[in-house]
């Protein structure tokens, strides 16, 4: 037996043992590194999505304080800036419908800002409007029972505490507003698919509602839960409450100053108009425009649940009770130029009389204070989709909610264009 040979073999065995240990350590280390990279990417994607929300907030703030940079609402003072919210505004074209990709190194975010009043507000929509939407009768009754304060009696297909308390996992009915669209999951008759997929068993006889991607609209496409519209005139001052108590002479004087003819001012100062519908029917066609621009019927400084004629899609406009498809079509056609004041509505074909306006005037607006921001942050293989609601009351932005969008294909569900342009985020 060769002794030197045996030493060589022993050395080889030793080496093999050491290599095996090292290889094991390296494999586990690589795995750990990979999971760490994944975690980092996910955090980066989340941070980028949050940066996207901040960019949207900055865009909205700039729009509210300075108006548009190029055309449309120009000027920096309230006297030259309109209060309307249009699809041609800076905020609306920010992010270019998801096609702009803001890059930071290898990572990026994409964003879209949508007017919150381009949806049907589930906290404010009256029963007549819900009837025009893809709901079942049970869903309508239960939704109304859920948000209305009356505590005990439920509608025939509805549900109050007695029903919810008898569930396997019981709770009380909210009797208040929904905080996000997913609050519907708490309400009898609603499930995940009924919100995010097309509902088939519905009472509405309205024409098929077009959603994003040329399919039928889902509740997620049509509805949201918050959206405020300011009750202001063109110059930003509050509209005049035609029903206000107090000195009638002063009220007449204010109306005349705002551009209403003395005769009409005197006539309106004595009447009682519970709704805008009753008001528009009380004035002649020639006075409609001014009346709509400067008057309101109560003291509420801002209202919820108005649909913005400038930004709402065809399917959302179709939920207004008694609106005809022709009028919807005419409104949508007008959106490329937009209505800068509510009174401009009389320029739309078919809406130039009090009788024609009465069915819809209490459902609509041309201005908005609340915006929905959709954003996707991407880092490596991770992406995070967030939806934020931003309220711009009195010009200062406030994030009302941030929710994580529930699906991985949100850009498709939002109807985004493919990302085509890359804009590096630079320090300024």
């Amino acid at each position: 037996m060769n002794r030197r040979g045996s030493v060589f073999i022993m050395a080889l065995a030793l080496l093999a043992g050491l290599v095996a240990i090292l290889a094991g350590a390296a494999a586990s280390q690589r795995l750990a590194l990979k999971s760490e990279v994944n975690r980092m990417e996910n955090r980066r994607a989340r941070l980028l999505a949050q940066a996207g929300i901040q960019r949207a907030v900055a865009t909205l703030y700039d729009f509210i304080t300075n108006g548009n940079s190029a055309s449309g609402n120009t000027g920096t003072t309230s006297s030259t800036k309109t209060n309307a919210t249009l699809l041609t505004d800076d905020w609306a074209i920010a992010g270019n419908n998801g096609a702009d990709k803001y890059t930071l190194g290898q990572n990026s975010y994409r964003l879209q800002i949508v007017d919150a009043n381009a949806f049907v507000n589930l906290n404010a929509a009256p029963e007549a409007q819900l009837n025009q939407m893809p709901f079942s009768q049970q869903q309508i009754d239960c939704l109304l029972d859920w948000r209305e304060a009356a505590t005990t009696t439920s509608r025939s297909d509805g549900a109050k505490d007695t029903y919810y308390n008898a569930l396997t996992n019981p709770y009380n009915a909210k009797l208040g507003r929904l905080s996000t669209i997913n609050d519907l999951l708490m309400i009898r008759g609603f499930t995940g698919p009924s919100i995010y997929d097309v509902q088939t068993d519905v009472v509405s006889t309205a024409t098929i509602m077009q959603g994003t991607n040329d399919s039928q609209a889902t509740l997620y496409d049509l509805c949201n839960v918050v959206g405020y519209t300011p009750m202001t005139q063109q110059d930003g001052t509050a509209k005049i409450n035609v029903n206000a108590l107090g000195n009638p002479q002063q009220k007449i004087q204010r109306m005349i100053q705002a551009g209403i003819s003395p005769a009409l001012a005197a006539q309106l100062s004595t009447g009682n108009y519970p709704t805008m519908a009753s008001l528009v029917q009380a004035v002649g066609a020639n006075d409609l425009k001014t009346v709509l621009n400067v008057l309101t019927v109560d003291n509420t400084p801002r209202k919820e649940g108005r649909i913005n004629l400038n930004t709402a899609g065809q399917s959302v406009l179709s939920t207004i009770p008694n609106i005809t498809p022709d009028v919807v079509q005419a409104i949508v056609q007008r959106q490329s130029t937009g209505l800068t004041q509510l009174g401009d509505i009389v320029d739309i074909p078919g809406l130039n009389s009090g009788a024609a306006l009465a069915p819809l005037i209490d459902y609509v607006t041309v201005a908005s204070q609340t915006f929905l921001v959709r954003v996707v942050g991407t880092a490596g293989g991770s992406s995070v989709a967030l939806e934020a609601v931003i309220d711009m009351q009195s010009g200062s932005p406030k994030i009302l909610s941030i929710s994580e969008a529930p699906f991985s294909d949100m850009p498709t569900r939002w109807g985004w264009d493919d990302a085509t342009t890359e804009t590096p985020i630079t320090q300024s």
């Binding site: 030793l14 043992g17 050491l18 240990i21 090292l22 094991g24 350590a25 586990s28 280390q29 750990a32 949050q50 929300i53 569930l167 396997t168 996992n169 709770y171 009380n172 909210k174 208040g176 507003r177 905080s179 996000t180 997913n182 609050d183 519907l184 999951l185 708490m186 009898r188 008759g189 609603f190 499930t191 995940g192 698919p193 919100i195 995010y196 918050v226 939806e387 309220d391 200062s396 406030k398 994030i399 009302l400 909610s401 941030i402 929710s403 994580e404 969008a405 529930p406 699906f407």
Partner: protein, 241 residues
Amino acid sequence: MRRRSRGLTLLELLIAGVIVGFLTAALVRAYAAGATYPERLRQGRDVELSAGSFDEKLSSLIRRATLSPDVNETASFFEGSAGGASGGGTNVGNADTITFTAAGIKPSAAVLTSQDDFETSNQTYGPQGGVQEISISTTPVGQGSASSGLFERKQIPADGDPTQGGNESVMNPNVTSISFEFWDGTQWLTAWDTATMATKRLPAAVRVTYQIQNDDNPHILVVQLPMSDVTTDNPVTQAAG
């Protein structure tokens, strides 16, 4: 020239033996250490990860704090107080408990795609969506069992009673003490209660200081609340008294 081979001296043999002994001992040690190295590496990572993910979990929970735009809503609050949940604005310094409402929590994919009807879904997954009430405290509201640490209590939907309800679980058993402070735009406060505020607002940020067992260093975490509108320019005006 051919040398005559001669044996080794005892001294040489002893020296050789000692050297071989040392080498063998070193080798055995190296092998033993090497064999357990990946395992120790993994354990070390786990400790680091769980510390990091605890911080992350804590801040992501606190970041969710949301108040309803409806000022009259009772099931919408943010409270930080001492000695468990306050439930009535009896806050006195050094908050060791925060209780708040959070909206916008993503329901699980299983719920959103489930073909079950409403009742079956409730049975399988429990209440979904809705505003969540979240409480973080070292004092459990449940049975005063022997367990200690940091507790997390979640209730869906929030019911307007910040003192109880929902499911309580241990979030980190090694936390021995925790305190929360709240930034009101000008200073750190030791208590916060939206129930006693004229206008309900969230603190701009929450500073969390906690102590881990067998670790003398305090851990400090500052969490900014995105849904707060409190800033240095727009601080909370303290109500007189």
